[in-house]
């Protein structure tokens, strides 16, 4: 007999880790997918998504059921993502060094990683190029812009919900989305529009 989500939440609130794992199972692919698009690195995405679950586990006592579990979880996800520092610059003596993060570059590397479902090498290669281009496009956005785009396109949140989450105006959200789509179009080579047709300036948030 399967246990309902409310029962799993109740048990998790009482400290039952197994129930929390069952609860997580229902959403972990969605959170990982968001993390992967956000971090552009499978290892970081795994770490970040697990960090989200740890934070959710720690905070589940504060979940009152006023919203759906996923809405509550998504807010934790947004906060965790924005707090996540990636590729940060650290000081070694007098000189600053950028901590290197793995880049999605080689095809051979993919064979040993969990990424990729394609059947033949050519498909794999084409997918890889496409993934790489998308990741490059996302890389040119600020973390906020990237997350706004993911929340809108992947999560289907409204402008209003996103602006509340980030504490900004809906105009800012629209700008971020336009910039994200523009960057993706540039990198994917899909019919780049002329400059005078751009309704929004590509200013940062």
């Amino acid at each position: 007999m399967s246990i309902g989500e409310n029962e799993l939440i109740r048990r998790a609130q009482a400290g039952d880790g197994d129930s929390f794992c069952l609860l997580a199972k229902g959403y972990q692919r969605r959170i990982y997918s968001l993390a992967l698009s956000y971090c552009r690195d499978p290892h970081d995405a795994e770490d970040l998504s697990q960090e989200v679950w740890l934070k959710a586990f720690k905070a589940i006592g504060s979940f009152r059921g006023e919203s759906s579990f996923y809405t509550w979880l998504r807010q934790i996800t947004v906060n965790s993502f924005l707090n996540h520092r990636r590729g940060m610059t650290v000081m070694v003596g007098d000189k600053s060094t950028t901590v290197k993060m793995e880049e999605l570059e080689t095809v051979t590397e993919m064979d040993s990683s969990p990424i990729g479902r394609s059947i033949n090498v050519e498909d794999q290669f084409n997918n890889r190029i496409m993934v790489d281009r998308v990741m490059q496009a996302l890389d040119e956005l600020t973390p906020q812009q990237r997350l706004m785009f993911l929340l809108k396109h992947r999560e289907g949140m409204t402008y209003e919900e996103i602006s509340k989450s980030f504490g900004c105006t809906t105009g800012t959200v629209k700008k971020a989305l336009f910039r994200a789509v523009l960057k993706l179009r540039e990198h994917l080579g899909i019919n780049i529009e002329s400059e005078d047709c751009s309704p929004f300036s590509a200013g940062s948030i």
């Binding site: 929390f20 698009s37 070694v92 997918n127 789509v181 309704p199």
Partner: protein
């Protein structure tokens, strides 16, 4: 009259489904009447479709998830243990037992602590790596000097034989405090790696959790950076100069903090710092041009021991809920 700019502004609303049905129908009619707007609209939708395809292609296959689940389970178990330890350490005795009894118990604990500290002060063996200068002095035969007394009233100065002489230095040390003075950090290490830690506060002193949290955060960053190291060129040469320098720096601090955690009896922290230390030693001791196998063996051990995950759990524990 058709205005391309006005349509462009609304295109983003259309592709992200932010228009009501009437607005959507009206806009689509207008788009269809202009080739440029239609192209733009199609390009936008094609872009989003391509993005979805790329996202789908980047997803891990099914074999990824059992390991992910297991890792999450382990982390949650670690988290639960840590929370238990935290609850225990924050346990307020006075709220459960009568005040006089609580006071008596606290006094008893202090007395035991003092006894232990006194005993430890006489027998403790400092860490050979860090406290080498201290140990070198300790191992030397302790001289019992003759003590010259100040001139007496007759102006004569007497010499007290060694067996009757009082070692003032010894008295000063034992009467002031029961714990030996903090030994200086050995200068065997490169001075540029000099550790900046709060003053040693003895076994009863408070452990600076902030310093530990910062240290572990730096270690986490270092290990992540190392984990993502790739050969810089086709010749398979790894550029790990930064990781080596940072490891050496963190190693010194790690040793000091581990000893402090041990003295404080903070077992989870001590355990974590102990498990981190071998990785710092190994990375710091890598040659300037390390072989691929050396790098991989460390990476494999990191993966196996899940050291980054453990550090992450610690960070999550010390950070606010979200």
């Amino acid at each position: 009259m058709h205005d391309c700019n006005s349509v462009q502004e609304k295109l983003i609303d259309l592709v992200f489904d932010e228009l009501d049905q009437v607005q959507e129908r009206k806009l689509k009619t207008e788009i269809n009447s202009c080739a440029s707007c239609r192209d733009n609209y199609q390009a936008m939708t094609r872009t989003l479709v391509a993005f979805d395809q790329a996202t789908e292609a980047a997803q891990p296959d099914e074999s990824f998830w059992p390991a992910y689940d297991e890792k999450l389970r382990l982390r949650l178990a670690q988290e639960s243990r840590r929370s238990l330890w935290k609850r225990f350490s924050e346990f307020k005795l006075a709220s459960f037992v009568p005040l006089p009894l609580a006071a008596a118990l606290i006094l008893g604990v202090i007395a035991l602590g003092l006894f232990w500290a006194l005993h430890r002060g006489k027998t403790a063996i400092p860490n050979p790596g860090i406290y080498s200068s201290y140990e070198a002095k300790k191992d030397q035969p302790h001289p019992v000097p003759s003590v010259e007394t100040p001139p007496n009233q007759n102006g004569k100065q007497s010499v007290v034989p060694p067996h009757k002489a009082v070692n003032k230095e010894f008295i000063a040390q034992t009467s002031k405090h029961v714990v030996p003075k903090p030994p200086k950090v050995s200068t065997d290490f490169d001075p540029k790696y000099q550790v900046v830690v709060p003053p040693y506060s003895g076994p009863l002193g408070a452990l600076n959790e902030l310093v530990i949290a910062k240290h572990l955060e730096k270690a986490q960053l270092l290990l992540r950076s190392f984990r993502n190291t790739q050969a810089a060129h086709d010749d398979g040469v790894f550029d790990i100069a930064y990781e080596k320098t940072q490891s050496a720096r963190l190693l010194n601090q790690n040793i000091v903090l581990r000893r402090q955690a041990e003295a404080k009896g903070n077992l989870p922290t001590e355990e974590l710092l102990s498990s981190l230390e071998p990785f710092l030693i190994d990375i710091a001791n890598l040659p300037d041009k390390p072989a691929k196998d050396d790098i991989h063996s460390i990476k494999e051990r990191m993966q196996k021991r899940e050291i980054v995950a453990s550090l992450q759990v610690y960070s999550a524990q010390t950070a606010p809920p979200y």
